[in-house]
């Protein structure tokens, strides 16, 4: 199989973003030429757009198990995370509650918002995510205090794919009367979610992670939770998010979500087979380690650390072989520290630099997986061959960290 020419790419970076589905593209087009009105306009062209908006809101609410008025359209996952957390903080501080519980391996959209609140005097507790990348409801229960105003915990981790016991955590929060937000950006469209049944008060999602367009998402917030505006202006989104609605993107997102959710089980079966094949294949590389619990994991996520090599050079050489992947190494992030997620699960710097994330989509084939296993093995062996660390490890001058 020749993947070295430009046209033949093996895309294994679906946690970063996905290709738009045909259904999503098709759903957007009419709202770019025919139905281009502003939903706030009174005339028929505007009202047609407004009808589309209303229907999108209903369809998304039905999928998430909430009411249409509980849906707020945003510019994506980051904005939804920011608004959920800021809103809960403002509600909390009115009652003198300024304690928030989260984890150390949240997305930066969450962590940076929490940092901002910390500077304002909020107290933030970040729960230990353990080496397996999992939190328990018990941990949350033990961390909740009288002054806790919010628990915010990601549904599935974007780097290591671990899936938290969200329904159990939701039940604890409900029992204790604490607001519960989940960043479900990596989970929506891939796992079965029902905000009511799972006691989720607020949920963030982003369309481009399930074959929808970029720059659009949803904050789903249970009625009665007063949202704080991040963007002031017109009265769109019940006055909680100003700005003329991005109707084409919202329609694309809705179509993509319906399609993804209709195929969750079918896709999961297919992806799990490919994922496990990759995990078994890459585990054969000596001195490698799988990141994140194997059992509670997204069907699409494979994450490894390879001792003795650095992630950016691994990615560049894989790209030369037609494979698009991702890494949490410092040199790919432009900072001196490797991914905060890998550090949070206790990977030391030495091996966190040699990380590789492969995230699958339904379009990947078994042939691609076979090719990828072979390619990763070759590249890791080559880079180890020119690595002074690897020489020291092999010669016994340094001790191996992994088996």
């Amino acid at each position: 199989m020749d993947c070295t020419n430009e046209r033949r790419k093996i895309y294994l970076d679906n946690a970063a973003t996905t290709k738009m589905s045909e259904a999503a593209i098709k759903a957007m087009l009419p709202y770019m030429d025919g139905i281009y009105g502003n939903p706030s306009s009174l005339h028929s062209v505007g009202q047609e757009a407004n009808e589309a908006l209303t229907s999108a809101r209903e369809r998304i609410a039905k999928i998430l198990g909430c009411e249409p008025r509980e849906i707020t359209f945003t510019s994506g996952g980051s904005e939804a995370d920011n608004q959920a957390i800021i809103s809960a903080a403002r509600l909390g501080e009115k009652k003198g509650k300024k304690h928030i519980i989260s984890t150390a391996f949240e997305h930066h959209a969450v962590l940076h918002t929490l940092n901002k609140l910390e500077k304002e005097g909020f107290e933030i507790t970040l729960l230990d995510v353990h080496e397996n990348g999992l939190i328990t409801a018990e941990q949350v229960r033990n961390a909740i205090r009288e002054d806790t105003c919010l628990v915010t915990m990601m549904y599935a981790n974007n780097e290591i794919g671990t899936v938290q016991p969200i329904a159990e955590i939701g039940a604890v929060c409900r029992e204790k009367g604490v607001l519960f937000h989940t960043d479900a950006v990596q989970a929506v469209g891939h796992l079965h979610i029902n905000v009511k049944e799972q006691n989720i008060d607020m949920l963030s999602l982003s369309a481009h992670k399930f074959h929808g367009p970029k720059g659009v998402g949803v904050l789903c917030a249970r009625k009665g939770i007063l949202l704080t505006n991040l963007i002031e202006g017109g009265a769109q989104e019940r006055g909680k998010r100003a700005g003329t609605e991005n109707i084409p993107a919202i329609m694309g997102m809705t179509a993509a979500l319906e399609e993804a959710c209709a195929k969750i089980d079918e896709n999961a079966v297919r992806l799990t087979v490919l994922r496990d094949k990759l995990i078994v294949g890459l585990s054969q590389i000596p001195h490698s380690v799988l990141n994140g619990d194997y059992g509670h994991r997204l069907p699409s996520n494979v994450s490894f650390c390879f001792e003795g090599i650095e992630g950016e050079s691994l990615l560049l050489l894989l790209d030369d072989k037609g494979i698009c992947a991702s890494s949490g190494s410092a040199c790919t992030s432009g900072s001196l520290d490797p991914s905060h997620v890998l550090l949070a699960i206790g990977r030391v710097h030495d091996i966190a630099h040699g990380s590789l994330r492969l995230s699958l989509s339904e379009e990947n084939t078994e042939e691609e997986i076979d090719y990828t296993i072979k390619a990763v093995k070759e590249v890791v062996a080559y880079l180890r061959g020119i690595s002074p660390i690897w020489r020291d490890l092999v010669n016994g001058k340094k001790e191996f960290i992994t088996k």
Binding site: I309, E312, C331, L336, D350, H353, I386, S387, P388, I389
Partner: protein, 144 residues
């Protein structure tokens, strides 16, 4: 636009002078695994000339390409010229590096200096100690 210039990618994909010199006259290793780049340089020196040089690097594309280019720039040159090699010259020879990648290339200059210092020390050759700032103070390789 790609992250790296064609020159960088060429040296990254086909690094020159990779390997080890047994019984080298000077060996220098800088950086550490904590910050993600480590470079090791081996020198063979005869009549005050770098007759052979090899490197091993653990690091990103920028680190590997800089090591390769730096070894090319000093091979066959008098020791004094190798000592005068700057990070700037390495980066220029590579047709530039992205700003946030410059720190990964600094190691090449430092590894060569460390190897030359090792050569002087081993052979009891007098040298100007100020030419070799002590590692702990520079911060480039995030020495801990």
């Amino acid at each position: 636009m790609a992250l790296y210039s064609e020159k960088v990618m060429d040296h990254f994909r086909n690094p020159r002078n990779v390997g080890v010199i047994e019984n080298a006259d000077g060996v220098g290793e800088v950086g550490n695994a904590k910050c993600g780049d480590i470079m090791k340089i081996y020198l063979k020196i005869e009549n005050d000339t770098i007759v052979d040089v090899k490197f091993e690097t653990f690091g990103c594309g920028s680190a590997i390409a800089s090591s390769s280019m730096a070894t090319e720039l000093i091979k066959g040159k008098p020791v004094s010229e190798a000592l005068a090699l700057t990070n700037k010259a390495v980066v220029e020879a590579l047709d530039g590096l992205p700003a946030h990648k410059l720190h990964c290339s600094v190691l090449a200059e430092e590894a060569i200096k460390a190897a030359l210092k090792d050569y002087y020390d081993k052979n009891g050759i007098e040298y100007d100690h100020t030419l070799f700032p002590d590692c702990a103070s520079c911060g480039h390789c995030c020495e801990t």
